[in-house]
Subunit: 211 residues, 2 copies
């Protein structure tokens, strides 16, 4: 059997370790997660973690890389093109919200570890950031913006604000689920994407009848 697991598609030890890492890092945080707890959840021996990944930090890097590469791929395929800018943005927002939802644990690990300064990981983050900014800049250059906002909406801020807005539901979910679980459940994922798209593209003001 040249390849592993031809019949069964249950994940091997290496995959189970990464699954457990994503789950625990997103729920407890990277620093608050112990490798023994992780090994127990993945149902592997403690030593297998360093055997497959080398170190705990390498596990985190793997998670960040997988998230960033998926996000960047969507940005490149949806943000650039010939369709009208607003149409491109709307499709981008819907695709990203879906991506964030399907990989919400990866998203949470990435966002919560984003501001922390760690020499090894900061390089990784900066590398992905550069590619992301380059893509956003290419998009913004293809849009004819009013001068009054063109000076403000520099790529770094445009990218930050939009990303944060799309991620907001998943960032606040653990808290909001305790505050108003019924109202949260009444809004589907597509509804949420619509909300983000409408506010970001048309603004809240356009939906106010009397002001």
């Amino acid at each position: 059997m040249g390849r592993k697991d031809l019949k069964t598609n249950d994940p091997g030890s290496k995959e189970r370790i990464l699954q457990a890492a994503v789950e625990l890092f997103s729920r407890r945080g990277y620093g608050n997660t112990g490798l023994r707890e992780l090994a127990a959840l993945a149902d592997v021996n403690l030593a297998m973690i360093n055997y497959f990944y080398g170190s705990k930090k390498a596990l985190l890097k793997e998670i960040l890389d997988m998230f960033f590469s998926g996000y960047l791929e969507i940005a490149r395929s949806e943000l650039l093109g010939n369709a009208p800018p607003l149409t491109r943005l709307d499709k981008f927002i819907h695709k990203v919200v879906t991506f964030f939802s399907e990989n919400s644990e990866y998203l949470l690990v990435t966002i919560t570890e984003l501001p922390h300064e760690d020499p090894e990981i900061t390089e990784h983050k900066a590398l992905w950031g550069k590619q992301m900014i380059a893509t956003v800049k290419e998009f913004l250059d293809s849009v004819d913006l009013d001068s009054e906002i063109a000076e403000l909406a520099v790529p770094v801020l445009f990218c930050s604000t939009l990303t944060s807005m799309m991620a907001s539901k998943f960032l606040f979910n653990p808290v909001m689920a305790q505050v108003q679980p019924e109202r949260l459940a009444s809004v589907t994922l597509d509804d949420y994407a619509d909300l983000v798209s409408k506010i970001f593209l048309q603004g809240l003001g356009s939906f106010i009848k009397i002001d």
Copy 2:
């Protein structure tokens, strides 16, 4: 001397501990910060941390409480009132951005620890969340929104998206400062608040000349 430090206004040990905690928790993360490093930065004995605050987690609670109370205070004073809704929102955004900027370390600690499940702290977060949502709900009830977005913009999502958007600059700052430091520096804090306000209230679409 009944009160401490009548002449000098340099902070006492208790205050220095909290200052060091905010700095280290925001830079390295709560879980990645050791109390010995914290004590060294605060220039106090290790035992003084538990003497004044009882535990490491209590320090985190203190930080979260201080941030939430300040944020909630602004929401209550700016979101509710008699001025037109959009005027209120614009003032709210500018005040919050200033508040986030002046307390960016508190903001980072709060946001990065927000999604993590910790029985003791989850209650705290939910308590503040309820008060915040109640305030936002009161604001939204005073606005006459189109039905097409009124169903989507439930308080929990409205609060999440706007908060995330206002916090985005500070969340992404550590990364973006490495990507494009010169473009970031060219935008003042007021410019940033204007950008958030314009996009959220008027939408990006209203600034595009040709589509």
